[in-house]
């Protein structure tokens, strides 16, 4: 991020930026930067809080009026809620859909696949409700039925059919994995009377409780065993977060 600012400024465009990793910005020394103490993925601090976002934005923009630099200024506020590491108790959210407990004991791939398919089927109506309510989804390339079909087949040693002719299997698996997680988040956030889980709550539930996570780990294993370089790299880096491997 800081390097981009440097390149643009050196071509005559004044820049200001938000910084998430202060150490990187200290090293690169871009012209103007506002460091924020927020979780990665949340540069403006907190969703659905326009007043807070506005304060962050204004602090970053005001740096454009400073007479000289480089400037690295710290934003004085923490994100107000739902931040990882906050005092909010993790048990305050629970998944609206409870999956049959025996499904967690699946050992062979066929049983895992059927548990995954049941889970997807149970979540689909909630996803549809979310779409009706918000008119927006973060699902990009693979609607829930196709992401679950692709990942389910690949993860259980079936023959996956890549639904898009113009993207490689490795890219398709990566995009499908993100789309599957997006679908799960939107589905579990849609229950009436239930606030969306925080990022930490969602990760805890998704990676510890769902058949989807076990399918993704099976997909990862198959990628790692593959002779295909891009599948290997996808398995090593782009399916499972570092803290869940």
């Amino acid at each position: 991020m800081g390097a981009l600012a440097h390149y643009l400024e050196s071509k005559g465009i004044p820049t200001t930026q938000i910084s998430l990793i202060r150490e990187h910005t200290e090293f690169i020394r871009p012209p103007r930067a506002l460091w924020v103490p927020f979780e990665l993925g949340r540069p403006l601090g907190v969703p659905e809080n326009p007043a807070f976002q506005r304060r962050v934005l204004l602090k970053a923009l005001e740096l454009l009026e400073a007479p000289e630099g480089p400037l690295l200024v710290d934003f004085p506020e923490e994100a107000p809620e739902n931040a990882v590491g906050s005092d909010k108790p993790m048990e305050s959210w629970s998944c609206p859909v409870s999956f049959a407990s025996e499904s967690r004991q699946e050992t062979d791939l066929e049983k895992l696949r059927s548990a995954f398919d049941r889970e997807v089927a149970e979540l689909l109506p909630w996803y549809d409700l979310s779409m009706e309510k918000h008119g927006r989804t973060a699902v990009v390339e693979f609607e829930p039925r196709s992401s679950s079909e692709l990942l389910g087949a690949f993860g259980t040693d079936g023959q996956p059919v890549t639904p898009k002719a113009d993207i490689s299997l490795a890219t398709a698996l990566r995009l499908a994995a993100q789309d599957l997680k997006a679908f799960y988040f939107e589905a579990v956030s849609a229950r009436p009377g239930s606030a969306p889980p925080s990022s930490g709550e969602f990760d805890e539930w998704f990676w510890q409780e769902t058949a989807a996570a076990r399918i993704l780990k099976a997909v990862q294993e198959r990628c790692l065993k593959s002779g295909d370089k891009s599948l290997k790299m996808t398995g090593a880096m782009f399916l499972i977060p570092m803290d869940q491997r």
Partner: protein, 153 residues
């Protein structure tokens, strides 16, 4: 919490050891007061218009985001799994504060909002982005932009 010293391993070491470029010069372009600035958003969140090409690798390419884009048409295809996406799912302004910029423009706090915004995919080696970024400066000038707000993810 993006405080490096509070991050769990192996993420902390991964980020701490990421190579960062160092520059010998320090460019600084002065400008007019904020209320006269025309501002473009430049994100490294791997954002794209729905239907545009997904980001596939760390090649330094970027996607163009028209200023009249709606939230439902802006999606994220960043390749990293190591940051939160659920916030963006709830509110695009958390990552791409276009509504907030329009509010500031309508209140006269900034001059105007650019006609085009841009997104790279972060985690790319900055050297790979250099050529595209320098070309981007020309596009921004063509849009009469005189301030770029860079937003990481």
């Amino acid at each position: 919490m993006a405080r490096l010293n509070q991050m769990p391993e192996p993420m902390r070491s991964h980020l701490a050891e990421l190579p960062c470029p160092s520059f010998t010069d320090q460019p600084w372009v002065p400008g007019t007061p904020l209320l006269k600035r025309r501002i473009s958003l430049i994100s490294t969140a791997g954002l794209q218009r729905r239907g545009d090409r997904p980001f596939e690798g760390m090649t330094g390419d970027y996607r163009v985001i028209p200023g009249d884009i709606q939230a439902k048409d802006l999606v994220m295809t960043h390749i990293s799994t190591n940051f939160d996406r659920t916030g963006f799912q709830q509110d695009w302004n958390l990552v791409f504060p276009l509504d907030r910029l329009h509010e500031l423009a309508s209140e006269g706090i900034i001059g105007s909002v650019a006609s085009y915004h841009y997104s790279f995919m972060g985690a790319t080696d900055p050297a790979e982005m250099e050529s595209a970024a320098r070309n981007l400066a020309g596009l921004l000038k063509g849009d009469r932009v005189d301030a770029a707000l860079l937003v990481p993810v």
